[in-house]
Amino acid sequence: MQNTSLQFRNQVTIKLADARLQDALSRLQSRFVEGRSAVISEIADLEEARTAAATIRDRVINNLEHWLVHFEQQATACGAIVHWAETGADVNRIVAGIAAQHGVKTAAKSKSMVSEECGLNDALELAGVKVMETDLGEYILQLAKEAPSHIVAPVVHKNKEEISDLFAEKHHLPRKTGIAELCREAREVLRPAFLNADMGISGANFLVAETGSALIVTNEGNGRLVTTLPRVHVAITGIEKVVPTLEDVTTLLRLLPRSATGQSITNYVSVLTGKKNAEDHDGPEHFHIILLDNGRSSLVGSEMQEMLRCIRCGACMNHCPVYQNIGGHAYGWVYPGPMGSILTPLLGGIEKSPDLPNASTFCGACAAVCPVKIPLPDLLRKLREKQLQRGMKSWQETFLLKVWAWLALHPTIYAIATRIGVRLIRMMGGKEKLLHTLPGAGGWTDGRDFPAPSGKTFRELHKRGAGQ
């Protein structure tokens, strides 16, 4: 998928003015934020569970080479074929090669954000393979030729009227209006796609090193269908998704669906190990697992390594006041919200996403809900530092930061400057004690007034307090 995050500011203006999107985003908040909070309390000691989950992820990433090699050995011993891909284009080439090798004409696909990174569907169409998305949300997006706007609920930006119109147009059937009827229609249209597909394509939420298995969590059952019926199954995932043991993955599974959709467990958890045995009636004859790097290895051992803990639950975006107001498309790539504001610049190039690390109020909600304790605001702050070091900030911002740094190193002058500053702003606030405009910060005061300070600095107040 092409990275268009350079357009972030323009996109934000458009998305804020989009009434239908704003309505859709309010639904997300009530369902996912409240849903999470209702079931997360089932875990007796949430802090203990989050720490255990973070420890499991760190154990893997601190020793990633060993765990990857162990996974590969186990998976291969069970009859899977493991492929390694440096870039998204490599994934596309490998999948097209597997398709050609097995004479694949049609593929049924369950939701995979990694395949979105690669732009796999377009590449396979070019290679003559017809790809059908089967996750309801992804299927709707494929019909509408749109990108997902959320990693768990990809079509959150559309309402049911839009989907009714789309189905009526594309299915040539009488227009349905109820959500259950729309789901039934999609089921009936897609069932033949599962039955006739030569190849099933899925992601993998986790790879279990102990058993060489790919694990998928789904609710619709399409993940089970695409990994059971077609004669070839290709699972595509990132190299960081390895987890040591079945017990470790179970600890993570207690947190993933609760954090993502507010479910204690997803309807289906499938642990797939190797290919169909000779006596089996079902299962793929060929099982390929593709491990994608696409920049992930450059985070290992770096100050951004904690980002590799991410298990893609989407809780950070659900709780983010920025995402809640602009939706996922504005971020310009596969991953939106706080995790996307970090991953997009790290995987796609810091220069290509100058606004994303700054699209945060640092309120800290994302870090508070993250099931694997990724310090998301800290990582965003580190990216801002990198931007400054690389001269990506405007001269005004750079100059002001230099002045600030100099003042902070000279406490006496700092005290004098702030005393003058707060008195000046106090005066500007007048009787109303509000500033309607701030020189140099017009963008901030466009939408709200700036409350004038009391006219005393913190140090003055502290000194007075200490004297009492």
Binding site: D90, S213, L225, P244, S302
Partner: protein, 210 residues
């Protein structure tokens, strides 16, 4: 250098730790993480959680009663009385209860699929199914109604207990381990939960003591 070598060497040069013994010790011990408090009554806990996830639950003290219970359930819901079952259930008196349940893997046209289960998990009201020649995965997947006949003594507390049971009874996992927790569902349209997405519309659990 191929892609595998390039990726692994990049990781190797950046990695802080590199210790194979630590890896194998962790694998050998496979320690458990924090666990939920153990339920006092596994069966009651399983039933409560299963109902919460929109499964239906019936109980009987005799396996021979299963067909009668199922026939009543299907007729009560105006559902078809024919389907398929796993070979292990072929001996139940299906036709005496007016049901047509041949033992074979499910096809797309089959509307009821009757299976057993490897075990079940009380913590979440979940079935654990293992794929195999006598336990086809399609039977719990293609039909609109999935019926699982379960021995209540095979209900364990947690998924960790289920893994231990698997390790005890099999050397390695089968091609597919499927955990099933209620009917398939989607909330993709307006975040409204709708039962019956691509898998079954309903799941009936029949707890039948042997």
């Amino acid at each position: 250098m191929n892609a595998r070598e390039k990726i692994l060497s990049k990781i190797r040069s950046a990695q802080t730790q590199s210790s194979a013994p630590v890896t194998s010790a962790h694998l050998a011990q496979h320690p458990r993480g924090p666990l939920p408090p153990a339920p006092t009554d596994l069966v009651a806990c399983f039933k409560e959680r299963a109902l919460k996830l929109s499964s239906d639950v019936l109980e009987t003290h005799s396996r021979a009663e299963v067909p009668t219970l199922l026939a009543r359930y299907l007729r009560g819901k105006n559902l078809p009385v024919s389907g398929v079952c796993w070979p292990s259930l072929a001996g139940l008196p299906w036709s005496a209860a007016g049901l047509d349940m041949p033992s074979r893997p499910a096809k797309n046209s089959d509307l009821v699929g009757v299976t057993g289960a490897f075990c079940a998990i009380a913590e979440t009201g979940t079935l654990m199914m293992l794929s195999g020649p006598d336990t086809p995965a399609t039977t719990s997947l293609l039909p609109e109604t999935h019926v699982a006949v379960l021995d209540p003594r095979r209900i364990v507390a947690t998924m960790e207990d289920a893994w231990d049971l698997l390790r005890k009874e099999f050397k390695q996992p089968p091609r597919a381990v499927n955990f099933i927790s209620g009917p398939s569902r989607t909330a993709d349209i307006e975040q409204t939960v709708t039962l019956g997405a691509h898998g079954p519309y309903r799941v009936l659990l029949i707890l039948a003591s042997l």
